[in-house]
Assembly symmetry: C2
Homo-oligomer: 451 residues x 2
Amino acid sequence: MNEELELIFEEIKTLLAERKYAQLYSRVKELQPADIALLFEDIPMEDVILTFRLLPKDTAAETFVELEPDRQMLLISAFSDAELKAVLDELYLDDTVDIIEEMPANVVRRIIRYSSPEMRQNINEILNFPTDSAGSIMTIEFVDLRAEMTLDEAFEHIRTTGWDKETIYTCYVIDADRHLEGVVTVQQMLLAERSGTIGEIMDRNVISCKTGDDKVEVAQTLNKYDFLALPVVDNEERLVGIVTIDDAIDVLTEDATEDMEIMAAITPIEKTYLRTGIFETWKQRIPWLLLLMLSSTFTQKIITAAEDALSACVALTAFIPMLMGTGGNAGGQVSVTVIRGLSLDEIDFGDWFRVLWKELRVSLLCGGTLAAANFVKLLFIDRVTLSVAGVVSITLVVVVIAAKIVGCLLPIAAKRIRLDPAVMASPFITTIVDALALLTYFRIASLMLGI
Amino acid sequence: MNEELELIFEEIKTLLAERKYAQLYSRVKELQPADIALLFEDIPMEDVILTFRLLPKDTAAETFVELEPDRQMLLISAFSDAELKAVLDELYLDDTVDIIEEMPANVVRRIIRYSSPEMRQNINEILNFPTDSAGSIMTIEFVDLRAEMTLDEAFEHIRTTGWDKETIYTCYVIDADRHLEGVVTVQQMLLAERSGTIGEIMDRNVISCKTGDDKVEVAQTLNKYDFLALPVVDNEERLVGIVTIDDAIDVLTEDATEDMEIMAAITPIEKTYLRTGIFETWKQRIPWLLLLMLSSTFTQKIITAAEDALSACVALTAFIPMLMGTGGNAGGQVSVTVIRGLSLDEIDFGDWFRVLWKELRVSLLCGGTLAAANFVKLLFIDRVTLSVAGVVSITLVVVVIAAKIVGCLLPIAAKRIRLDPAVMASPFITTIVDALALLTYFRIASLMLGI
């Protein structure tokens, strides 16, 4: 499919170069807005503006939404006031807000100026919700019905108002005070007896969320119940908006990316990698690198304190990287598993003892296997003395057990005190496990080797 | 919302204990199937069976789909043949296939026996698709229309056949040979003039996938175009099924989890953490731990070879963990960023030089900052000699640059040779960077300290 798309892009570029605009138009209008946006990332800005002006109004707006912020900004600067107004009129509220959040102040002022007064007020309301709340991702373009409507009246209402709604398939039934009374799907309406009223077929057990709810939890709720949209109510239980499935997917994808970044000791930002400048990338990474580097002062002190033991038995130094590395890997494995489990709601704080008990047994198995393999290797391949092989292998078991315990408990504890568990991943765990590994190593060595 | 649910669960448990089945029924039937499934994980099996028998047929089937495999198996064993048949009749094909894939052979035989002959044939067909293909997650319950149908005929067709379709909102238009001709949404149909035909309003530029396409790519396509469903065609371009958005979300979520697991050196399996036995967990983790442990033979050899230098300047040993740790963290940061970028299609193989060039500059910035901070700390806090501070700080810059280069190039190279880039994450990168760090360290030490 991608190769096919590339061929079409090549053809369009040729048509642009040869100024064959009629053919260009017929080629472009067959494309999906998401693909036109891809094309626009790939051709010079003057061709973007020219092609954009050929697009039908609704396609133009949908394409505009899919563009990266820098292209959106250039397009807005190229728009006449009338053009800007035409695009803004076609946009859904949630998309307009997304765009405004990415634009510099002067562009925002221009967008606000050419929005309708009603839209302007709505934009301001949404911008006032915290960025991680359901309110910040909701849209207010939904179909609302009344319980006393007949099915025919309801369909007629959808037909007359459905043009500018983000989804018409889930309709919300409200009373005169906009309190949410029920929910009904177009599927239910189509399959029901035509003589009834909406009140008779609607589902009164509506699952809804509050404007202030965490957007990731809201997205997970949509996913859990396989809904296409979830209603958002205010503190007085009045329906104020809906969150649609396409936005929920974006939230879940972003959340997974963020978790991965935090687990790798990166401060997450919303921009994609190739669009992030090198200073921004540096700022995402350097605080953690610095912190982790400075925290290795502990390992440095531990080794300095053990200098005598190390010079008494120089062979011991050679196994430090293996012990620290294995500990870090063992701890990283369990911390990632637990962090993901917490974030998918598969693990709760209440499960901490089950998790600990499981990890204790798994770490005995893993530690035992590794120690056995290592013992054989040390004796027969590295040909160290029996006592050195013993020291290294026993340390290995202890380190793996300690790593697994630290790796499972820290993320759960972080969740409990409302820290992001993802912080307790490999880099952080490794720093703790490194210190533990060295302490254990030198303690066991001094006991067994008498140094 | 979760606390509210817990209260309802407590109430239901009391009603069960007091055998108040009428109240129980009215309480349970207000719940969503996904929540009834949660309840069923929480109460004894005999109560599950009892409550399950109270549910309306369609709710029962939807709840069954949401259950964990072990509960499904126990329920199937408790079912009479008639009950099993009733549940199977209500299931969609893709859900039946999901269940069959998790069940032991004797249960599968029983399911197959009580499926209709047509269903049986369809199950076998789907089971023949590779587990990571679009065919394996598609459903065959979709609405197909003909171009010559009038809108009224089409709505009538939906009304009579829409009961057992997984989605009715996107309808597919096929010719007599089942070739896909177009796609039309119920929204378009509701908003169109009533006098036209389907052929006049349908969209002829249909985006589809093949049965053999990778399921993750198919899920990403649904997400990219904000579709509710994507048609699946066979090699003769005949429509054979659709992939719906709820399954696409599950695929994307699973894929992110898998990536995280592979990046943490864990072999992914589909079961959730708490449902995986300790031997299975051991099997997921031990191969990688062993491999990584054995590969630290390199660092061991490098240190052994440098024994003389280390005994000449014992202070050098103390900085080994910091150098290796910082290298590992720096490499892990970039590898995770690049792996996620590759998997979200934000980075391509063609971008390798842009990525390398960016990382070169970022690593100079990061390495420089870290080395400067470290140099000051070494001189004024640790009070080492100027030359040792110099050796450690210069090594740090080189290690960070090497780590960032290895960390960005290996995942891209892996993608190129069709390996999973996620393998090239922190644990693997760390092993390479550890060896590079030590080699650099001892080489710079011998040059600057003359040892």
